[in-house]
Symmetry: C3
Subunit: 318 residues, 3 copies
């Protein structure tokens, strides 16, 4: 039952539900952007309310809703009544009156769940502090499925800031839900995965770049997933340089031809642009696949599974 549900974290999705989202994302792929518009959400309004910066997530939710035929309104904290002293709870309860679905990002852990409890329309968690970013994990899984034609029996190395990387937390949870997947987490000392997200192997060993190269070569994972250092969540006064790590061409040269490089973006210094032209580099594909994944999620939460099933028969699939 999808109708009027929230999407707040990975653990509240069953394996079957995740597979269904991937299934509908694939059906919607021919309609993601590029001049093909559906009428599934005609007359419905999605509001994005982001209390932290975003490029991909906010823009792709907007494009997803537009492509489904709905309207989009972007609530911006700057210039809003927050400047007159209104609290976020009142703001969210107000926005509820003006839309059919809310997409919220907030710097505070578990805040989006709290907002969702206040309102009667579906709420999507677009990132709650360093906690979770479930739609990113779903589009990552979709990217993996499109690449390997399976989401089972794969090995993934996740590199970087495992402590504050909310997308990595959601990814680890979703990847662990399927059969025979193996995760190896590698993080600089101090940025280890919090215990509550743990499943698989986690090593705190990026002390020198040379070692990272050797480890990755040795692991022979199907996926190398790189995370950004979340400077914004580091304790004040800490020097980000002490956590520095970088994936570059040298490392790619040691990896298998089949190993893909993923990153949720934005990147800063941890993924050298010299690797962008490598066919194994998938971040912009991930951004693209975010469209159809989010289209499927929006349509399901707004209770349009029936229309998606009709599309299934009538529309071209790849």
């Amino acid at each position: 039952m999808w109708d009027k549900r929230d999407l707040l974290d990975i653990n509240s999705l069953s394996r079957e539900e995740i597979e269904l989202i991937l299934h509908y994302a694939r059906i919607l792929e021919p309609f993601s952007g590029k001049g093909n518009k559906l009428g599934i959400c005609k007359g419905e309004i999605l509001i994005t309310a982001f209390f932290e910066p975003s490029t991909r997530t906010e823009m792709s939710f907007a494009t997803a809703m537009h492509t489904l035929g709905g309207d989009v309104q972007s609530f911006k904290p700057l210039g809003s009544s927050l400047e007159k002293g209104e609290n976020k709870e009142d703001t969210i309860c107000t926005l509820e009156q003006y839309c059919d679905i809310l997409v919220i990002r907030d710097p505070e852990i578990d805040s989006v769940k709290r907002y969702a409890d206040l309102v009667n329309i579906p709420v999507i968690n677009a990132g709650d502090g360093s906690n979770e970013h479930p739609t990113q994990a779903l589009l990552d899984l979709y990217t993996i499925w499109k690449t390997f034609n399976t989401i089972n029996g794969l090995k993934m190395a996740i590199i970087g800031d495992l402590r504050y990387g909310r997308n990595l937390h959601s990814l680890i949870k979703i990847f662990g839900k399927f059969d025979n997947n193996k995760i190896i987490g590698i993080s600089p000392p101090g940025l280890e995965l919090p215990n509550n997200f743990k499943t698989g192997d986690f090593k705190g060993i990026i002390t020198e770049m040379d070692k990272l190269n050797d480890i990755l070569a040795e692991i022979r994972s199907d996926i190398v997933y790189v995370g950004r250092l979340r400077k914004e969540y580091l304790p004040l006064g800490e020097n980000p340089m002490k956590y520095k790590y970088e994936i570059n061409r040298d490392i790619l040269n040691k990896l298998s031809e089949k190993t893909i490089i993923m990153h949720a973006f934005p990147r800063v210094d941890e993924l050298n642009p010299e690797v962008d032209s490598d066919p194994r580099f998938l971040p912009f594909k991930q951004a693209r696949y975010g469209l159809q994944t989010r289209m499927a999620i929006i349509a399901l939460l707004l209770g349009h599974e029936k229309e998606l099933m009709i599309s299934n028969e009538e529309l071209p699939t790849n």
Copy 2:
């Protein structure tokens, strides 16, 4: 005659015109948001130009126009040519070229009227400094009508910053236009209603919270309308704390079961969240009713009264 008119203040609306807006707002209620879209404003564009913060007004005008089938563009002063030294008059005359109707908020009294005089398309005053906010008064009146099934013979206590509360100014004017309504204004000394807005009783007596409780209990009004302290309009250096007032559960306990609590929001400290769950607390309903009220206003000013009359026959009403 509505076509191409502006909506700048309450006094330029006749009693009959106000009743007509309420009438059409009720007709439009089933279509306000929530997946029902009309085609009344198809092909038309509304631009919001807010030179002061807003959450409800800007967002609900956007939702109202989207629900009428039109498009919405939000002009933001930040990032505009105002940063290159352009004045607001040139900005407004430019925006006129790109839309069919303008919704403007500006910190200066009477400025929106001045802008309206410059352009040939309908202009809606969404707040001009501490002067007026006529569409808020219209949605407040709609809320009162929906609650009491009449807009005559009612008693309203208006509490708070009567000096700078523009929505209260418009509300006092509109409420005074109907038969046998009684207004009791209660404000901290120094925040009394300006003389040009006066009609009914006005007392400057909130010096201690206990007295406010007693007064409200004694007045037995149908409506308790709470205003926010407009710190942004206080003379520089004044301490807002000296004007402090608060409506809380203690007060509600002394009021009749029929007395409703209204507030235009945002609220800061003047309305304790402990009253939110009380069925007499209506602010989020006001926000919701703002949708259909603004839909009616937009449709009328764009010359679509005929289409509204057709809707009247064909569409479900409550």
Copy 3:
């Protein structure tokens, strides 16, 4: 061949292509704003990404796309992942995934060309530093055509900051492409036209306002085009007052009844508002004509020339 092309500068447009844009702009004129919407771009999405302030350009591209039936999303640097350290190249390559056409403004010369090389969708240069602003030149030419019914054999005086005025650079190039046009450039010493834009006469002689009056009276040009002083591009610490110039009623009184006054706006002090009521003052018409010109450009770059040709037969033209 228009399909999937970029519009980055004037020199890559042939004379015939420019005439075709004007031709389609005229066909689209009855549909520019004001409640007439076409379905030419239904299902397509335009994203504006402005890294410098804008009012007219950004808003008119939005209105143009809405009027063509497409959707519009405004990417704002503030609140985007640029704040997390993402570079503009990654940002642009991300936005590419979410739209069909990109409109970009950037303070750096030639940057928009560099972005366009990175992506596979049409890119429109909405101003690259002090270099070019080709769609402004096209709408200016359209305004000239509408006024004189020809774009040949005309004399234009261009006054002001010829060094940093990107729209003037594009205008000089486009005007010089047609037959027997004469350009006289007049700029304060230090703000002369860069050599690579030169064609026609250029004089650095506005040292006193009185002289400007006499020069303009003597030149008897068909068009007086006024440019804004680009304070934002002046070397740090330079006093803008030393470059001051102003067109006022005194000058207009000396000009022919047929001479039109143009300005791309925003204006600051160089065009006195006392001339606004003069019928020869055309800046707001330019703003209006920007709509249909940009509609034609968007439709062509998105490969819809065939639909424009159909419109040609079916739709009223002026």
